[in-house]
Amino acid sequence: MLSIQNYLRAESLDQAYQLNQNRRSHLLAGMLWLRQSDITVGTAIDLCDLGLDTIEETPEEYRIGATVPLRRLEHHQGIAALTGGAVEAALKDIVGVQFRNMATVGGSIWGRFGFSDVLTVLLAADCEVELYKAGRISLERFAAMPYDRDILTHVVLKKTPGPMAYHAVRNARTDFPVLTCAASCLDGQYKVVIGARPGKAVVVHDEQGLLKEGITPESARAFADYAAETVPTGSNSRAGAEYRTHLVRVLTQRMLCQLADKEG
């Protein structure tokens, strides 16, 4: 049972940051995960009054506030156009509308959850995160960092052009995914992201140049084999490692072929 001794709406990021240095403090995001933990929180710090719930657009990027709910991201027309619908495809099966009205972009990315559709699709995009102290760093680097007591304030989605594709296999339509796969070719750089392995999503770059001649059925298969060999998978109650590796191969190949179709 979650116990909270003190609730505070931060009046500034600096105040939130200072309070959050106490190990018994906890930043509140969508509350969906925290609510299920059996812990005692000294001070729950709510960022809801700090204006972090907007998506700002500049010619170069979308700057997504940490408290923007997933559903607003899902329905953002500019982001849909930029990602070819991949963001919506990644978000639409997460539990339900009410849940996605509550779960936040910041909470999802900060959590770096293994099962995360959000992390998978944004890793395939050209993304950075803005941390209150550490500043901007690439999402890929952030995903690999240990948890600390900084505050994620924004996720920055750069308008780097190129096709994206997304698919997750689920045992039931709104369940956690068994495996997630996103692929992109931004500025000519191919990337495949595999999540719900069930570990945290990993990025597979085309370091071997398997796709340097473009995507053909053969090169897609070769890259899929490469992904299946290199992406570690494991077992949990939803599926075993062998099946997950099988899915890495199948989905990688399919998503690459979808990229090729989108590139036209």
Binding site: M1, G96, R170, N171, A172, T174, V178, S237, V250
Partner: protein, 764 residues
């Protein structure tokens, strides 16, 4: 009452409580229980099999707000069963309120009574328990004669001889047969032999188990509970607590779903015990996790079927052996297993020359099973309908034609169903109609969609019963009010099924009055006439017949009073609904009769009628599924599920349709997504809705239901039952469709994308 004279029976009357429910009015246990009750929480065992060596509640009791904490030392020593069944219960008396011996992960160790939930939680963490952890029986295939005994106690008490033996981990065992099955099998052209495994699926009703208790104005124990079985519940509490039934009143408000879960007295005893100890109101509300791990789910079963047939597809012999896992306690163990044979084998009465049905029901150190819609029939039908589909595939005969050649038909006697006659059976018409609406001819062939996906179809038949023959008792009280309206008081339990409404429809037709003029109340042991309760598909068929009887008797009384007012003989008047008419045409209004019944009257304007049936006429059903399956990922989507049901007369077609659709959706969940697994120590994995995936509306596809009515002569208005049969066809039909799409038979549920994608073709 003849079939063609009904005004309400056969029409889609709105449920009497529908607007209260849809507008969110306070009608459930937790809504109407007074504030300020003690919060009751249970400390549960972390071990699958353990003895409480020591338990120390001293520190926990000092938490502010904690009123008391009870352990095994504080409870009576009367073993009892939680199963809501007619006395003497076939389920063994194998429980104590709290036992020193803990038999599954979740078995209660201590009862905490506190002023607040927070205090109860805090106290729970401060109870010091030293466990002696014992070896556990976690695989039901190894339970029988295992050296580890789940119930070694000497006071284990079976009331009925059902072949149980606690020193062998046996809850029940038995054998039935007709003809020489081995001899017939030896003479068959083809014999198939396969084993089918279904898991302990959870009813997952939206309202978890919950009970409020207090002492009423006479100092009696008053129990307000979400239960399907008020009378059985009273008997169970009486034995468990050691107090007479006259000191207990059990009532149910609206129930947020049951599906059989609440045919077991899962939550009542704990707050009742607290109220008896403290004299204070108490309330227990199971969390979803508790409902998932310490409820009363379906019995896990493994059904081995041997089927013998001729080359032309005549099914000549069926031999079933069912191994059923009752878990840590025996609730419903001896009875559920029977349905795995009794409700599957008779489907093939048309051609069957011999059958045998053997079974063992075993104890394990897992959550105790209970009653879940279908009650064993679901498990048996998955096995038998699957092997019949396997036969069709082997013989290259269309599976619907194969069934046409073998199915039970009206007028046949069913040797595997207690030799009961199929008085009303439209199974053949269900099959013909389902084939037509589904467009079987075009959908059965496997179609490649060109994107790695294929579409395929499958079929299954089902039957169930209508009440428990020779056991179930339905009763109603019908009272005339002074304005000529009626009160119908029942002991059956509407749990969303709509029985309050359909019984009122019957009463309205019998009394020739508007259905709005029949007020229904139920159920309350102080007020309601005795009824076994709502389970075993009994209420429409058994209690419905009691309504007919009560109406006939009350009509007679109305005529008697009316005749007195008219100054003639009761035999010379006729009842016309709103009045009674003498032979000479004079009438007296029902209102005047009702007022007369309150003045200088010796003829009660109310009757209680009871009904029990020596037979349990089966409803029948055909279901067809179309799926789309991704051959590489194994993802499967049910596109369409069509079903045609013979429930006799559908008393309320809208409610019967929704019952059917709901049952199909539950069947789809059981087939594809609802997994039940345990870790190596016997701890359940799927302990929340985050892990236990009941279908969402995106998972079920389009459902289409029709009725092919028969007329059951022993049922009210020709009705049979609908509530349970509807869950039985999806598993075999969808498994069939998956085999058509992949070439692989899956004989274990659930069939997940992983097992489909990684499935290896069968060796034979």
């Amino acid at each position: 009452m003849p079939e063609n004279k009904t005004k309400y029976v056969g029409t889609a009357v709105r449920k009497k409580d529908s607007l209260q429910l849809l507008l969110g009015k306070p009608v459930y246990t937790a809504d109407i229980a007074p504030q300020g009750a003690l919060v009751v929480k249970l400390l549960r065992s972390p071990h699958a099999n353990a003895m409480v060596k020591t338990i120390d509640t001293t520190i926990a009791k000092k938490v502010p707000g904690v009123v008391d904490i009870y352990t095994w030392q504080d409870v009576p020593h009367n073993r009892y069963t939680n199963a809501g069944q007619t006395y003497p219960e076939p389920s063994p008396y194998d429980r104590l309120i709290l036992d020193r011996h803990l038999r599954f992960v979740g078995d209660p160790v201590a009862i905490i009574a506190a002023e607040t939930e927070k205090a109860a939680h805090k106290a729970m963490k401060l109870i010091k328990v030293e466990y002696e952890v014992l070896d556990a029986v976690l695989d039901f295939r190894t339970a029988k004669d295992n050296p580890t005994l789940v119930h070694p106690e000497e006071d284990w008490l079976p009331l009925c001889d059902v072949g149980g033996d606690n020193h062998r981990n046996l809850v029940a065992s038995g054998e039935e047969k007709d003809g020489d099955v081995e001899a017939v099998l030896a003479g068959c052209d083809i014999v198939l032999d396969h084993t089918y495994h279904t898991r302990a699926a959870n009813q997952a009703m939206m309202e978890t188990f919950r009970t409020y208790t207090d002492l009423d104005r006479y100092g009696r124990l008053h129990v307000l509970s979400s239960t399907q079985i008020v009378f059985h519940c009273r008997r169970i509490l009486s034995r468990a607590l050691g107090i007479p039934k006259s000191r207990i009143r059990v009532e149910k408000p609206r129930i947020g779903g049951g599906f059989g879960a609440k045919q077991t007295s899962v939550s009542e005893v704990y707050p009742a015990f607290v109220t008896m100890k403290t004299g204070r109101p108490a309330m227990i509300t199971y969390t979803r996790q508790e409902s998932q791990i310490a409820g009363s789910p379906r019995h896990e079963m493994e059904v081995r079927v041997r089927l013998g047939a001729d080359k032309d597809g005549r099914i000549r012999a069926l031999d079933l052996y069912t191994l059923s896992n009752s878990g840590a306690y025996g609730e419903h163990g001896p009875t559920t297993v029977g349905l795995s044979g009794h409700k599957s084998i008779p489907l093939y009465t048309g051609s069957l020359e011999a059958f045998r049905f053997r079974y063992d029901v075993v104890y394990t150190n897992l959550q105790a099973a209970g009653a879940y819609r279908g009650y064993g029939a679901t498990q048996g039908i998955f096995a038998v309908e699957s092997i019949v589909n396997e036969l069709a595939e082997k013989l290259h005969i269309d599976p619907t034609e194969l069934r046409d050649r073998n199915m039970v038909r009206q007028g046949m006697t069913m040797p595997a169903y207690y030799n009961e006659p199929a008085n009303a059976c439209a199974l053949d018409r269900c099959m013909a109609r389902c084939r037509e609406i589904f467009d079987w001819e075009h959908r059965y062939p496997v179609r490649d969609m060109g994107n790695g996906k294929v579409r395929a179809a499958g079929v299954a038949m089902a039957m169930q019963g209508s009440g428990i023959s020779g056991v179930d008792v339905g009763s109603v009280t019908l009272k005339l009010s002074e304005d000529g309206t009626y009160n119908l008081i029942i002991g059956a339990a509407d749990m969303g099924t709509g029985c309050d409404t359909i019984l009122a429809q019957m009463a309205a037709d019998c009394m020739d009055c508007p259905v709005e003029d029949v007020a229904v109340f139920g159920a309350d042991t102080d007020v309601s006439p005795y009824d076994s309760g709502s389970y075993a598909s009994s209420t429409t068929y058994v209690t419905g017949k009691a309504v007919e009887k009560a109406c006939a008797e009350l009509t007679g009384r109305i005529c008697t009073i009316g005749a007195e007012l008219l100054g003639c003989d009761a035999a010379d008047v006729t009842f016309e609904g709103s009045c009674v008419r003498a032979a000479d045409g004079r009438t007296v209004s029902l209102t005047d009769i009702a007022y007369k019944s309150q003045v200088s009257n010796n003829c009660a304007a109310e009757v209680t009628a009871t009904h029990s049936s020596p037979v349990s006429p089966p409803p029948f059903m055909v279901g067809m599924a179309e799926i789309e399956l991704d051959k590489l990922t194994g993802e499967v989507q049910v596109l369409e599920y069509d079903a045609v049901v013979d429930c006799g007369t559908p008393v309320n077609p809208a409610l019967a349709r929704v019952q059917t659709e709901g049952g199909i959706a539950q069947g789809i969940g059981m087939t594809l997504t609802e997994n039940v697994t345990y870790d190596a120590a016997g701890k359940p994995i799927e302990s929340s809705f985050m892990q236990y995936k009941i279908p969402t509306r995106l998972d079920v596809g389009h459902l289409h239901v029709e009725f092919e009515s028969s007329y059951e002569p022993t049922g009210p208005f020709g009705a049979k039952s609908i509530g349970e049969i509807v869950i039985n066809t999806p598993a075999p039909a969808i498994a069939h469709a998956i085999m058509r799409a992949t070439g692989v038979w899956h004989r274990e549920l659930p069939i997940t994308p992983e097992v489909i994608a990684m499935g290896k073709a069968d060796e034979d």
